[in-house]
């Protein structure tokens, strides 16, 4: 056994021992409780006949998948209700909202036989999985290891699919199908869809053509045509960005730099405050000089020698100060992120701390 695997074994053993010990004392370890609510919705009269066929296709999947504790009740939801009798004009389902352990305890105290607030196994398992993933990613800081590789493979697969799904339901369906087949989208997905304008339809047909050209690559011949949509995208991007950058960066920033080098600050009595005036003037001088020197650094067709060289050197100093300040300012946000993960481990998972009084410590 190598030294490294020994280290891993010892670390793992200590960790599991601590975890078991933690589970024995206090209120135990992370669990998630959910509260059930029954939702019954009336189908609009007109829709009952039209949609009667469609929901049944979805019926078997209409249970709340992650809360299998109540799967048996959930199985008889929407379509069961709407297909059981043809006169049914309502559909119903159950929703589960996460509640704090405090609420669970209160409900149990009031009525030990209550079934409204229950332990959610899927979410509790999810919580433990999330904790495992958090630790697996942190383990990368020590060395690459199988746990990290599992987490990495999983996050790649899941997130790629996630963005694909988002692209389909949030972009393709409302934008493209919404413009080209509004009837279908209206009846299946979004009854509130506004009828598309002609221009919108044309642009979406155009988009579809570009998309098909892109996919042409998958065919054995004629893949070169996919260069056309790419060229269109690159060209249009270039055109758009030239305008927006010149407007908001070049012109606006240059205009903001036209400051007087000498300022007189007057206080409440109307007298000039020499000290403040001096500081304000120095600030403006430094600012204007800085902008010009930094710009000198960016000159390409002039060697950095002589006056330009001197200015460029001062410019680099300014840039370094800028970078140092940004670095220092960003640290706080980064530490906040780590603190959030640590809080997740200590609070949600290990129940070591309870800053929000969710468990009434």
């Amino acid at each position: 056994m190598t030294r490294q695997s020994k280290t891993w074994l010892v670390l793992g053993a200590v960790f599991v021992a601590l975890l078991v010990a933690r589970g024995m004392i206090g209120q135990g370890l992370g669990r998630v409780y959910v509260k059930r609510t029954d939702v019954t919705v009336k189908l609009p009269e007109a829709a009952v006949n039209n949609a009667a066929g469609a929901p049944s296709a979805l019926a078997s999947g209409s249970t709340n998948a992650s809360t299998t504790t109540a799967a048996t009740q959930a199985m008889e939801t929407p379509a069961a209700a709407s297909t059981a009798s043809s006169s049914a004009t309502t559909i119903s389902w159950q929703e589960w909202k996460q509640v704090t352990p405090l609420e669970f305890n209160a409900a149990q105290k009031a009525n030990p036989a209550q079934t409204e607030i229950t332990l959610s196994w899927p979410r509790t398992i999810g919580l433990w999985l999330a904790a495992f993933f958090t630790l697996a990613i942190f383990s990368f800081l020590y060395a690459d290891n199988p746990f990290y590789k599992i987490a990495e493979s999983l996050v790649v697969g899941v997130s790629a699919a996630y963005w694909g799904v988002i692209g389909f339901w949030d972009t393709l369906v409302p934008k493209m199908f919404g413009a080209l087949t509004p009837g279908l989208v209206k009846s299946l997905v979004q009854p509130s869809l506004v009828a598309p304008e002609k221009l919108q339809q044309i642009s979406m047909i155009f988009a579809l053509i570009l998309g098909v050209m892109m996919l042409w690559r998958l065919l054995p011949r004629g893949g070169w045509i996919s260069a056309w949509p790419l060229a269109f995208i690159v060209g249009v991007t270039a055109g758009l960005k030239i305008v927006s950058h010149v407007e908001s960066d070049l012109m606006a920033q240059a205009a903001a730099t036209m400051k007087p080098l000498f300022v007189s600050v007057t206080d409440a009595s109307g007298a000039t405050n020499m000290w403040d005036s001096w500081w304000a003037s120095v600030a403006n001088v430094l600012l204007v000089a800085g902008v010009i020197c930094c710009l000198a650094y960016f000159f390409f067709s002039v060697e950095h020698k002589g006056v330009v060289g001197g200015a460029a050197r001062v410019g680099i100093w300014y840039l370094m100060i800028t970078f140092g300040a940004s670095f220092g300012f960003t640290v706080m946000g980064r530490i906040a992120l780590l603190a959030a993960r640590v809080e997740f481990l200590f609070d949600d998972w290990l129940w070591l701390i309870d800053p929000n009084h969710f468990r009434g410590l």
Partner: protein
């Protein structure tokens, strides 16, 4: 020919878009392009998915080192895609019960929502949190007074870091009022107001010119390397 047509497509598209920014009637052209682009990108996901599937299937069939992890990637990819595209376990939106797919994939308690909350969020946000460790190691290694530039970088970062804590306030808080400008917290504000503004402004002006020149190189057909043209 295979390079000339795309080049002209880019040139015409680019100039048309540039001019549209100045014509009130065509002001929405930019937004419309954003829509078109998003749709094309969403369709092109098929290509990405194909590449992803191909690399992992090849790894599997070759039994490369770590092929087991490819199973995890492929499996999780397909399962998530299936659940998400089919809106498995999503009940309709309460406002539109007649539309079977009106429910949102992100709703609490759905399978897709579960994947997001208990897999994607912890994995990606922990990855993000690794930054806290890396800023520390980068600061230890890189912030050393090797030359004037490094000293400026280091001293500014030091002042700002210290000024962001209670310790910095305690350290220089006793400075008399007339020297209050030298208190760490005020010093870091001063650095932000003067030096940071100057530096960022110059960077932005430079970037604007750089973007303009890059765009013009494309629109004038001078730079065709992006076209797969290599040298013009």
């Amino acid at each position: 020919m295979k390079r000339i047509i795309p080049m002209w497509i880019a040139i015409i598209g680019g100039f048309a878009m540039m001019l549209s920014s100045f014509v009130p009637l065509a002001e929405s052209a930019g937004e419309m392009f954003a829509d078109v682009f998003n749709v094309v990108a969403a369709i092109a996901f098929v290509l990405g998915a194909g590449s992803l599937a191909k690399q992992h299937l090849e790894k599997l069939s070759r039994r490369d080192a770590g092929w087991g992890y490819s199973i995890i990637t492929l499996g999780s990819f397909l399962i998530t895609l299936f659940i998400g595209l089919g809106k498995i376990g999503i009940h309709p939106n309460e406002q539109f019960p007649q539309a079977p797919y009106s429910g949102s994939n992100e709703m609490e308690g759905s399978a897709f929502g579960w994947i997001y909350e208990y897999m994607i969020t912890p994995l990606t946000s922990t990855m993000f949190a690794l930054l806290a460790f890396f800023v520390a190691s980068a600061a230890f290694r890189a912030f050393r007074a090797k030359n004037t530039e490094a000293i400026l970088l280091l001293v500014t970062a030091f002042i700002v870091l210290l000024g962001r804590t209670f310790a910095g306030v305690v350290l220089t808080g006793w400075f008399p009022d007339w020297a209050s400008g030298l208190r760490l917290e005020n010093l870091s504000i001063y650095v932000m107001q003067v030096f940071n503004t100057a530096g960022n402004r110059a960077i932005m002006i430079g970037i604007a010119l750089g973007v303009a020149a890059t765009g013009l190189r494309i629109l004038f057909g001078i730079d065709r390397s992006w076209l797969g043209g290599g040298d013009a």
